[in-house]
């Protein structure tokens, strides 16, 4: 790997490294991820929840919390340079919109008005 450790490391140390969370934070995030996963899997086995209308939205909600926490804390996006946030969020949003539009077009997400798909 060609060039890494030279003066530019020192230049960004105060910005990038000091504000990183401690190992305790990481462990707590790990606990949170485990708890959410347990809740999700339990929901799958609770018929009252699994068959209810809120099942799918609640699953999407729970997994997006996991997604966001990992990206913000483990991937340091919350603490890192804003350019990284832009580099990831922009493409991510475009991808999500594209996928949702695609699912609409394939009729997997039904809409009430008209007869699309």
């Amino acid at each position: 790997m060609g060039h890494s450790s030279d003066q530019s490391v020192a230049a960004r140390l105060p910005d990038a490294e000091v504000h990183h969370p401690t190992w305790q934070t990481y462990v707590w995030v790990g606990v949170l991820l485990t708890v959410i996963t347990i809740v999700e899997v339990s929901a799958y086995y609770i018929p009252a929840w699994e068959t209810s209308r809120v099942y799918v939205p609640s699953m999407l909600f729970l997994s997006s919390i996991k997604f966001i926490v990992v990206v913000l804390v483990y991937m340091h996006l919350k603490y890192d340079h804003k350019i990284f946030r832009a580099l990831f969020t922009g493409p991510f949003v475009v991808s999500i919109i594209t996928i949702i539009a695609l699912l609409f077009l394939f009729g997997q997400i039904s809409i009430q008005v008209g007869g699309a798909g």
């Binding site: 990481y26 799958y44 991937m75």
Partner: protein, 237 residues
Amino acid sequence: MATTAHAGTVDPHKGHHYTTTGLDNRKIGLWAFLGSECMLFGTLIATYLSYKGKSVAGPRPHEWVCAATNVVSDSPIANCVGQMFTPILDIPVTSASTFVLLMSSLAMVLSHNAVVHKNVPKNTFWERVRGSSKLWLAMTAFLGMAFLAFQTYEFTSFYHEGLKLSTNLFGSSFFTLTGFHGGHVTFGVLWLWTLFAIDVKRGLGPDDATNVDLLALYWHFVDVVWIAIFTLVYLIK
């Protein structure tokens, strides 16, 4: 000429590794790559979801079997008493493998932490454990390999249940999606052992923080993709 070219030059003008933002090139490139991977996995997931329930022949991810009429369906069957819900997707096993992958992310972030604080003196046993980048890198790699083992078990059992890549739309889209993810994990494991080998050879220090960071970002991304797959493919019927 010599005067203007050399007088009062400072780092930005002569320094070979000057960067506009002060950030490492590779990290910017990697984030752009991860943005692009969002679209790759997004398209794969969208295809899987679009094809869900469209397979002409079984096996299907979640099936209901009506014992009386021998009807098999993707959704609960109307007018059938005593129907059986038989998911081919093995939720307990996959929950375990999901947990394993999540914990590998924790181990990964701890190895990054250990490398960054390599030069901080360690007094107690636990501080030494926390500060051992070798331990956490190896732990991450082993957890990653455990995930792959789970996936191999899952693929093999599907194969024995008659689900192959070419069986139906479910088989094609499921194996392609999870297989691509597994391929990413495999690459990550190779990368992990490479860094581990370097750590054993010369020891990783704060100067290598970016090297570890790059791997960590990749590894966590592969993890969040699995978070999405686990919910969308396994838990939602």
